[in-house]
Symmetry: C2
Subunit: 356 residues, 2 copies
């Protein structure tokens, strides 16, 4: 490509350059690729490390977190290393008790149900209370150098609040929506406290070396666009704006976002992550060239035979086309029992699409 700046990487762009350029909608030699939850449960070497401590202990152990982060990079050479951590680390630092029972998801106690409960949450000092994450990022940088981008992240305010209010995973978010609709002042106070905590927490990740930040709104898709715009937009806009001011591209991923795309684009992120239900052509038509797109192969498709996975990966690439601004990913996190060879099939198929 003639319009590409010179790089000292002999084989073309490094993964890091490819990722950063795609996030900013600049031309690349082919889409960068990473996979949500790539550092985790589907890899046998992950389970070996997890023998040594609980899930939250592993998050707080910089050396182990860095090791887990690098495991998929060594196997597959993705373009970005997403730091091994959890979206509930800030909730713990704000005073909640966070634990994971295997196969049951998080418990976040005591659940917040009143203004007095919300008032008990406290601010925290990122370096002092969550410095292990900065340490892990620095360790990953030592291993990956300038080859891979490092992705830092946080949970979005709604997702974080829903765990705090429900006290655990929830299918219907009864308590969260009861507060959102029935006591909007308390709900807004909670969101504001979460955003206040997340901004310096993300700042710490950038200072430690994160190149890109992703805001995960795992459950925001459970809200109508009207409710999201009325109740979530102001705190989300403040978070996205402050995150962009840190100088990194910001990826906003909302699972189940097909009805929210225009609204998410209005929030001003650099990249919108679309889930597998969203047609990329439709997404592009709806949000224009305001953001890059990330996605969106169905993670459940990776349970089909590897040759089917290759075909579906190619179809996904075709749907996005060659326009600048596509970061290849699954449409949601890779699932626990996913066959490793199918993850490999995805990554290799995307890598084969690159211009020589």
């Amino acid at each position: 490509m003639t319009d590409q700046p010179k790089t000292d990487h002999p084989e073309g762009l490094s993964g890091r350059e490819r990722m950063l350029r795609a996030a900013r909608r600049q031309p690349v030699d082919g889409p960068p690729v990473w996979i949500m939850r790539q550092a985790g449960r589907y890899l046998p070497e992950y389970h070996e490390i997890r023998q040594l401590g609980s899930f939250m202990e592993t998050c707080r152990h910089a050396e182990r977190a860095a090791e887990i982060t690098c495991q998929p990079i060594r196997r597959f050479g993705m373009d970005a290393a997403v730091i091994f951590s959890d979206i509930l680390v800030p909730a713990e630092a704000m005073g909640m008790d966070v634990s994971f029972e295997e196969g049951k998801g998080p418990r976040v106690q005591p659940a917040l149900r009143s203004r007095a409960d919300v008032d008990r949450l406290h601010a925290f000092d990122p370096e002092e209370d969550t410095g292990f994450l900065a340490d892990a990022i620095r360790r990953v940088r030592k291993e990956v150098g300038a080859e891979q981008a490092i992705i830092g992240f946080c949970g979005a305010p709604f997702t974080t609040a829903s765990y705090m209010i429900e006290g655990q995973s929830s299918r219907n978010f009864e308590n969260t929506k009861a507060m959102l609709h029935g006591d909007p002042e308390t709900f807004r106070e909670l969101l504001d406290k979460i955003v206040d905590a997340l901004i310096p927490y993300l700042g710490m990740q950038v200072d430690a070396g994160a190149d890109v930040l992703q805001i995960f709104d795992s459950w925001g898709g459970a809200l109508s666009a009207a409710t999201y715009r009325e109740s979530l937009f102001p705190p989300m806009e403040r978070l996205v704006c402050a995150t962009k001011a840190l100088g990194c591209p910001v990826i906003l991923y909302v699972n189940g976002d097909s009805h929210l795309l225009e609204l998410l684009a209005d929030l001003g992120p650099d990249v919108i992550g679309i889930d597998w239900r969203v047609d990329p052509t439709d997404a592009r038509a709806r949000i224009g060239d305001r953001t890059a797109l990330q996605g969106n192969l169905d993670p459940s498709a990776l349970f089909a035979p590897a040759e089917t996975v290759v075909r579906m990966t190619e179809e996904t690439l075709d749907r996005f086309g060659d326009a600048p601004g596509h970061i290849f990913n699954l449409g949601s996190g890779v699932l626990p029992k996913t066959p490793v060879e199918c993850v490999q099939a995805v990554i290799e198929t995307v890598q084969r699409r690159r211009n020589p």
Copy 2:
């Protein structure tokens, strides 16, 4: 309303007339209202009857099923009585073992994973194998007379197939999608067998007195529009077409259908049920006047205080506006622990909107 045909109902339209007219987009004095799962778990009198037998036994007991169907009508006077039954009744009649463990959802055994498994499913005779449902419908008719419409139903082919393949509730449908993408011939054979069974099963319900039929696709929203169109459209079209030929209005409800609306309209149902995430104005803009709409208050909103529920019900009515062709409902089934007074608040708020 001057363009309304004369009716011998002294207080105006009966609930049944209101429901049937709205489903056909004819003018009414205000939207009819019913609630998905209105005959069920949030009512104390339901739990009393359920003491007498297991869930599937209750479905198979015509007298109890009829009693449960009528319970919410006596309390709230909805316009339609949806028959108490389960979408897995046909799966049981086709030879699968179906059971429910309280709070855990269904178990459907043995799970189907191969062509040989699918070949073991057999056709069934509706009257002989599921005549209890016809009996229940006739009993309900005796109680409600011409006042309420009776809604019969079935599960959609994808939803039915996903239970058969996963063997239980599933969050990600790994096995179902592995078959859909990896062995599409077997998957299509399964869908065809299900449709073959459902058509006479729905016919039996109409013969017994059902006025309206709803096809529940609880999990169809987990598919992209491209996958739905390629793999589900042909069998769904056959089902919708044959169901309409029975002479009743057909409601098609797909949870999580915001990305599927145009496709669902192409299937030709009389009514599309939209979930609470879908903006009614947007739905109307996308599908035009091809179908009536049913929905779509968020069932989790019913955990807010009753006055909030009243306000949100009014806002939902406003979003649909006064154009013909709206059936008021929740955007998904009423949840187990929903306060009864909040269900009452919804129904009364809709009823208050009627022209005198």
